[in-house]
């Protein structure tokens, strides 16, 4: 198994300037689920991804607030408007202060 923190960002196709492209970001992460005992949640600091920020060409374009209801190795698909050459960056934050970044260069045709 890959170590925690590996991020893969992929843009589908080779988008033209002005078009809308779709991308996926995947993080290798256990995204722990809350344990329950006798129907009650066990209280401890679970490690899961609670915030994802997508930025493109230096601007934040989307932000996801997530919970333990997202599966292990969380992956997110999203769209963005291709306006200029730039970096598409996806940053994952987890409840243990972890910060994982993945980026891909977008070069519109």
């Amino acid at each position: 198994m890959s170590p925690i923190g590996e991020v893969k960002v992929r843009v589908s196709g080779s988008p033209a300037r002005g078009s809308v492209a779709r991308a996926r970001a995947l993080l290798i992460h256990p995204n722990e689920r809350v344990e329950r005992k006798d129907g009650k949640p066990v209280d401890r600091n679970y490690r899961f991804v609670n915030r994802v920020v997508v930025s493109y060409a230096g601007r934040d374009i989307a932000e996801f607030d997530t919970s333990t209801s997202i599966g292990e190795n969380p992956s997110f698909g999203f769209a963005f408007r291709v306006t200029e050459p730039g970096t598409l960056k996806v940053t994952f934050f987890d409840t243990h202060g972890g910060r994982f970044e993945g980026a891909v260069e977008v070069k519109p045709a």
Partner: protein
């Protein structure tokens, strides 16, 4: 739902929102889901947020996706954990604050454990 949206009216979003989910989820721990909302995504008219809720999860609010006009398209996809057979809802919040909702029922064969 009340806690999240108060008394704001929830309109039927069947014409606007496409919520893709399997009818039967073999493994509740990993259910592929995607939401697409029809919107021009201009500064004047765009989807501000997409909420994904599942009725039977101990914590029903699964994820909130905050979008901007830079998103170009109101589309998000991820994999959910679902505790049990039940409804999954997607709520789109427009930039003017209006809310639209669609609901899909999913049969979960193996639960995604206590989520």
């Amino acid at each position: 739902m009340q806690r999240l949206f108060g008394r704001r009216p929830l309109r039927d979003g069947a014409a606007l929102i496409a919520l893709e989910l399997p009818l039967i989820a073999e493994d509740g721990g990993n259910v592929a889901m995607s939401v697409e909302v029809k919107s021009p995504m201009t500064p004047q008219s765009h989807v501000r947020a997409i909420y994904v809720l599942s009725d039977r999860n101990p914590r029903p609010l699964n994820a909130t996706f905050l979008l901007t006009p830079g998103s170009g398209q109101a589309y998000v996809a991820t994999s959910l954990r679902l505790a049990d057979t039940g409804d999954v809802r997607a709520v789109a919040e427009m930039q003017d604050g209006s809310l639209f909702m669609v609901t899909r029922s999913v049969r979960v064969v193996v639960a995604g454990c206590a989520i």
